[in-house]
């Protein structure tokens, strides 16, 4: 049986079709499901082996990228989602999906991810209120679309990523992808804790070192993606789903396929 992948669609989601194609090529059985069907109980998170939150502009990102969808996650799916994560099943957030996971406090998450103090209405608001990392406006001040290189951090807790052999070459397309932390100590603890999953690098695999456009948005420590301490939830800003066959590359025979991430997610 092919692993069943839930690709979540909310108002304003896009790149769900590409994510589905990537999952198919990687050997998964993807299903794009509108959030309203999950709310109605027609589908349940638990019925799937992995969850992908794809890119887009959920609810227009009108109150900040991913913010409204993060609220949906808390209000409607708090328990289901925490059970899903606690079960060790994999979650991948791409671009708007990554923003949503961060804004919802699921990434990087607490060391004990589901133990936030519960308020009387069932909301674990501590993670939201005390969140100390964010994805904010690009240093350039505007949306930007360009191809970048993405290297897996060898010491990431998400060990399944080690199946990715070479840096992934794929586009970014976002206005709020600038990963920032409240302070340097937070960056240090992410690095020490193995929570940095991907970094922007140049074509030779050298660290971007903050250089634009190798680091396209000004992210601290060139962080392009992070994971949780358990290693089963990963988020990243670039779009590996847009480079799953060689013909999609703008520069022939350069850089690794983004497909490798989906293969790792599904098979490793």
């Amino acid at each position: 049986m092919k692993p069943k992948i839930l690709i979540l669609h909310a108002s304003g989601t896009n790149r769900d079709g590409e994510a589905a194609r990537a999952c198919e090529l990687a050997g998964g059985a993807p299903e794009i499901v509108h959030i309203n069907r999950l709310r109605a109980g027609e589908r349940r998170f638990a019925d799937y082996d992995a969850l992908i939150l794809p890119g887009g502009f959920s609810y227009g990102d009108a109150l900040g990228a991913g913010v409204r969808l993060a609220l949906d996650m808390h209000v409607f799916f708090n328990d289901q989602l925490h059970e899903f994560v606690a079960s060790g099943k994999r979650v991948l957030g791409i671009c708007n999906g990554f923003q949503t996971l961060v804004k919802a406090g699921i990434l990087p998450g607490q060391p004990t991810a589901d133990s936030g103090p519960q308020t009387d209405d069932g909301l674990r608001n501590s993670q939201l209120a005390t969140r100390n990392v964010t994805l904010t406006h690009n240093a350039s001040g505007h949306f930007e679309c360009r191809w970048v290189y993405l290297a897996v951090n060898g010491s990431a807790k998400a060990s399944f990523l080690s199946a990715i052999r070479e840096p992934i070459f794929c586009p970014v397309a976002h206005g709020e992808g600038n990963f920032q932390a409240a302070d340097e100590a937070t960056v240090g603890s992410l690095e020490k804790g193995g929570l940095v999953a991907f970094r922007y690098v140049d074509g030779d695999g050298n660290p971007a070192g903050g250089r634009y456009p190798v680091n396209p948005n000004g992210s601290v420590a060139d962080i392009a993606g992070i994971c949780n301490a358990a290693g089963n939830v990963v988020g990243l800003m670039p779009h590996p789903e847009d480079h799953i066959t060689a013909i999609q590359s703008p520069v022939k025979s350069r850089g690794g396929l983004g497909l490798s991430l989906f293969e790792a997610l599904i098979n490793a």
């Binding site: 108002s11 900040g64 808390h74 209120a129 480079h243 013909i247 999609q248």
Partner: protein, 969 residues
């Protein structure tokens, strides 16, 4: 009563951008600017909930801080720091405020019962600024009063007002009015109907023995508007061509330009892959065994001049709905923009105009915002700069869609219901259709609320998903967008054969108080109208709920051939469909085209003289090339294009940027639609536009634009036998003979070009009356092309690939500098314009076969700036040098001087890079066709051109890159 929440950045960048923009306005005293977001809540949810709201929804506490004041308790926001001045800006009531809506929904999700929210922006400006400066900053930079208002100091919140619905319907007496009074009435009510049209309406109601209602008059004005019936393109035209000696050279009676030049061309070429042309919202061609492609390009000029962000934003929204309106799934966007020079002196800007830099910023942001949020790649376009667009920028927005073959139903059935889907109706864009043939005045914009809206792409995204699902389940029998003329046009058009009855009180409104005629003709965005069999309504409702789209049943297709519009059951309009659609009296128009009397007669002799003059730009061709490369119309558009997502949907195979540095220019885009990866077919999008040439010769502009769009398409791998064209004419007032004269010449060029290239026109659009202070824009024809790329393994880009490869020039170069970029630089208004090439298809077919045979390493077309600019662009893309040493550059028109050979803009030309071992095969492909080897790709990173043994250009590739990217080395 109200809570005011202020969210400010913890670390600001000092508002660098605003400081610079203020300098552009001539205000140098702004040292810094701090921008905060403001949110207003109509009720106070209490401290605990407020802090939750801030943490959950309003503030990103890692980077932002939030505070609030209870305005009803008399609390006021803290005063700004000393030496800081406050400007606060809010949207006018009724303007789409997606942030407020999402806040309201978010609060409901959190269980808070707050009735209304509103938003605003606060600017704290530091510097020695007078009150006058602050008003100038507000009006010139921070606030667009078309859709916003501002205060110096705290802005009072304005929540949507509850007010009683209005059922006011006016009856307007026409009986006994003479033509003059009828025209005056038309002017007063902004109907834009002329004497004969008003007379026809008067006669109709005289026969009915009653007066028309305002709803009826408005319906007729919309349906008969320039925007909806394209009067100019349908009217009979008497065309006179007058020589310099004032002899009439030609008189021709044109029985409607659309019919005679565009549709007739399409019928004449009669391509088997054409599915639908000119009958629907978009043209349709065959793609593969299962799918067709729909393509449409629209203009949104006037709204973009008034409110650049909203105008361009809703321009994209509109053309995307044209594609949804043929049951297709939108999959890609294009945009072509024409602005005045960005460095136009602020002090010389006529009153009432926005600065071209402000227009560009807004337009580009508006396009990106809508296209990116719909998840559509914006992949092809152009940006042209000319002072002629100062009063009237042009915004062409295009969209391509994919639809399964034969999946687009177009016949409503008796008893089907009229269903409106999507956004709510407000006073948006009232009279938008009739504005397209009238001038805006202060009074009209006051009366009509907001003439321009801001789009709501997420609502449109829902429509895209819903309509695709409804189409696949065959739930509707006809579909149309709610564009110009709003529901009146949508229902009137759809019920043309059967007749239709509509109840206006069923229309969901953004706010109460609209009168029936306002509801009926409102051009509120993001709405579609469907004809739905009654038994399908429950399933459609279910799908609509699933995709979060609002749906309402408005009426029924009756079978009586009449239009009945009711409000709360009371008839407010009753018109025969026959009169509505066939009653337009038609007009005859006069056009005149005059030969020009040029100041410089012998332009080739003038060039020889200038070349010898050390003061002239053409005395040093290296410097001249750098000047042309950095000309805004030629230079890299990266700063704009990168703000558009050109990769979403994962099918962009030839993208706007090429080469190892991914910054070289592309000739066209190649796209592979998602869902069709099981075969190798793709399609390409390209365009041709050259208003400079149009000033010299509109006929030459038309054939050249077709050639440009065509050769761009072939250059990336399109099959020249499967290319379709779209026309977009933006012109001045066609009621003036000279404007119409050039328009007719351009339309003639379209006809001749279509036949020569065996390429049909499948759709088109005209935007006329583009004038400011009596000056028309340069008549501008955009030709957009969509072509089939047979094999994604055989596409081509423009960047040079490897040293040692040979460069060939396809096509003849003639001394054709009339209307060229070089002549605009030199201020020469004469010169022979480029002609249509001799048998263009033969060379394009040969090139296509060469690309399919893997002979072509890179390929680039020659357009503005001619051979020299094309060589430079290929070198820039590949970061490789070129050595051109050939004195035999093919000459069609006598001996060419170096300037003519290098900068002439003759059509039908491309450069191709070929491996040495493939040279013979390439030459065989081009046997009997114009092809000449001109040089070699070199590893030395220099562009060197030697003509007649003399080095005329010698530049480092870095110099080319810096000039083209307009960056300092």
């Amino acid at each position: 009563m109200a809570i005011r929440i202020e969210v400010s950045p913890r670390r600001g960048d000092g508002g660098v951008q605003i400081v610079q923009q203020a300098q552009r306005l001539g205000i140098d005293a702004v040292h810094s600017c701090r921008t905060s977001k403001l949110y207003f809540l109509a009720e106070d949810p209490g401290t605990e909930q407020l802090s939750r709201l801030c943490a959950f929804l309003l503030a990103d506490l890692v980077t932002e801080a939030a505070r609030w004041d209870d305005l009803s308790a008399g609390e006021m926001p803290p005063a700004a720091a000393q030496d800081a001045h406050v400007v606060e800006v809010a949207l006018r009531p009724g303007v789409t405020d997606v942030a407020a809506r999402e806040l309201e929904r978010g609060m409901a999700e959190l269980g808070l019962s707050i009735s209304h929210a509103a938003t605003a922006t606060r600017y704290e400006l530091e510097g020695d600024l007078s009150e006058g400066d602050l008003h100038r900053l507000a009006q010139g930079l921070l606030c667009n009063e078309t859709i916003e208002h501002y205060t110096l100091g705290p802005i009072p919140p304005q929540f949507d007002q509850e007010s009683a619905a209005s059922d006011f319907v006016e009856s307007i007496s026409l009986s006994g009015l003479d033509e003059e009074s009828l025209v005056a009435l038309s002017g007063e009510r902004l109907l834009s109907l002329d004497g004969p049209e008003m007379k026809a309406i008067q006669d109709y109601f005289a026969e009915m023995e009653r007066d028309p209602t305002d709803v009826e008059l408005e319906t007729l004005a919309q349906t008969w508007s320039e925007h909806c019936v394209h009067k100019t393109f349908r009217s009979k035209i008497i065309f006179r061509w007058i020589s310099l000696e004032r002899h009439t050279r030609v008189v021709r009676e044109v029985p409607g330009m659309l019919r005679y030049y565009l549709r007739r061309a399409t019928e004449a070429v009669d391509r088997p892959w054409l599915r639908s042309a000119f009958v629907d919202n978009a043209g349709i061609i065959a793609f593969d065994d299962d799918f067709d492609l729909a393509f449409k390009v629209e203009t949104h000029n006037h709204p973009s001049a008034l409110e650049p962000f909203g105008g361009a934003n809703t321009g994209i929204g509109g053309v995307v709905r044209d594609i949804i309106g043929v049951s297709a799934r939108p999959i890609a966007c294009t945009d072509v923009l024409c602005f005045a020079p960005q460095d136009f002196p602020q002090s010389e800007l006529p009153a009432g105009l926005l600065h071209p830099a402000r227009i560009r910023e807004g337009v580009v942001a508006g396009i990106g915002d809508y296209g990116n949020k719909l998840g559509l790649p914006t992949v092809n376009g152009a940006v042209i700069y000319d002072e002629g667009y100062l009063g009237n920028p042009l915004v062409f927005a295009g969209c391509v869609g994919l639809l399964p073959r034969d999946s687009h139903p177009t016949e409503p059935q008796l008893g089907d219901r009229v269903v409106v889907l999507g956004g709510r109706t407000g006073r948006d864009g009232l009279h938008g259709a009739t504005f397209s043939s009238a001038e805006l005045t202060h009074e009209t914009s006051e009366k009509s609320g907001s003439a321009v809206q801001i789009g709501d792409p997420i609502t449109e995204k829902g429509l895209i998903e819903l309509i695709e699902a409804a189409r696949d389940e065959q739930l509707y029998t006809a579909i149309t967008d709610c564009g110009a003329g709003g529901l009146s046009s949508a229902c009137g058009e759809m019920g043309k054969e059967l007749g239709v009855e509509v109840e206006l009180s069923e229309v969901p409104l953004k706010y109460p108080g609209l009168t029936p005629w306002e509801i009926w003709i409102s051009e509120a965005q993001e709405r579609m109208v469907l004809a739905v069999p009654e038994e399908n309504l429950p399933r459609l409702q279910e799908l609509a709920d699933g995709w979060d789209v609002e749906m309402r049943v408005l009426g029924i297709f009756t079978g009586d051939g009449e239009l009945h519009v009711n409000y709360l059951g009371r008839p407010v309009a009753h018109l025969g469909m026959k009169f509505l659609h066939d009653g337009w009296p038609g007009t005859e128009m006069q056009a005149e085209y005059r030969d020009k009397n040029f100041a410089i007669k012998d332009w080739r002799a003038e060039l020889v003289k200038l070349a010898a003059d050390a003061q002239s730009p053409i005395s040093n061709l290296s410097n001249l090339l750098l000047t042309l490369l950095s000309h805004p119309s030629v230079a890299s558009k990266e700063a704009i294009v990168r703000t558009y997502d050109h990769e979403v949907r994962g099918g962009t195979l030839v993208r706007p940027f090429t080469g190892p540095e991914m910054d070289g220019p592309a000739d066209a885009a190649v796209l592979k639609p998602l869902g069709t990866w099981h075969h190798n077919k793709a399609f390409c999008l390209s365009n041709g536009i050259n208003p400079l040439l149009g000033k010299r010769d509109p006929y030459a502009m038309a054939v050249s634009a077709i050639d440009e769009a065509f050769r761009n398409a072939v250059a990336v791998g399109a099959d020249p036998d499967q290319i379709a064209l779209l026309d977009n004419f933006c012109w001045g007032n066609p009621k003036l003979r000279d404007r119409l004269g050039t328009l007719v010449r351009a339309a003639q060029g379209c006809y001749d070009g279509s036949l020569a290239y065996n390429a049909p026109f499948i759709s088109g659009k005209d935007s006329l009356y583009n004038e400011f202070n009596g000056e028309p824009i340069p008549g501008t024809l955009l030709i957009s092309a969509i072509g089939i790329v047979p094999d994604i393994e055989h596409t081509c880009t423009s960047d040079l690939k490897a040293p040692g490869n040979r460069l060939y020039l396809i096509g003849d170069t003639a001394a054709e500098l009339g209307g060229s970029l070089l002549f605009s630089l030199l201020g020469i208004d004469s010169g022979d314009p480029p002609q249509m090439p001799n048998e263009p298809l033969a060379r394009y077919t040969a090139l296509h076969n060469a690309i399919r045979s893997d002979l072509v390493q890179s390929c680039h077309d020659l357009s503005e700036g001619g051979l020299a600019v094309a060589l430079a662009e290929m070198a820039i893309g590949g970061r490789l040098g070129v050595r051109v040493a050939n004195s035999e550059l093919r000459i069609a028109n006598g001996e060419l001087s170096p300037v003519e050979a290098l900068f002439s803009e003759s059509n039908g030309r491309l450069l191709v890079e070929v491996k040495t071992e493939d040279v013979t095969t390439l030459e065989e492909h081009f046997a009997g066709l114009p092809l000449v080897e001109i040089g070699t790709v070199s590893a030395d990173s220099r562009l060197v051109v030697e003509l007649e043994g003399e080095s005329v250009i010698d530049l480092a590739v870095d110099e080319l890159v810096n000039a083209w990217k307009r960056q300092v080395a």
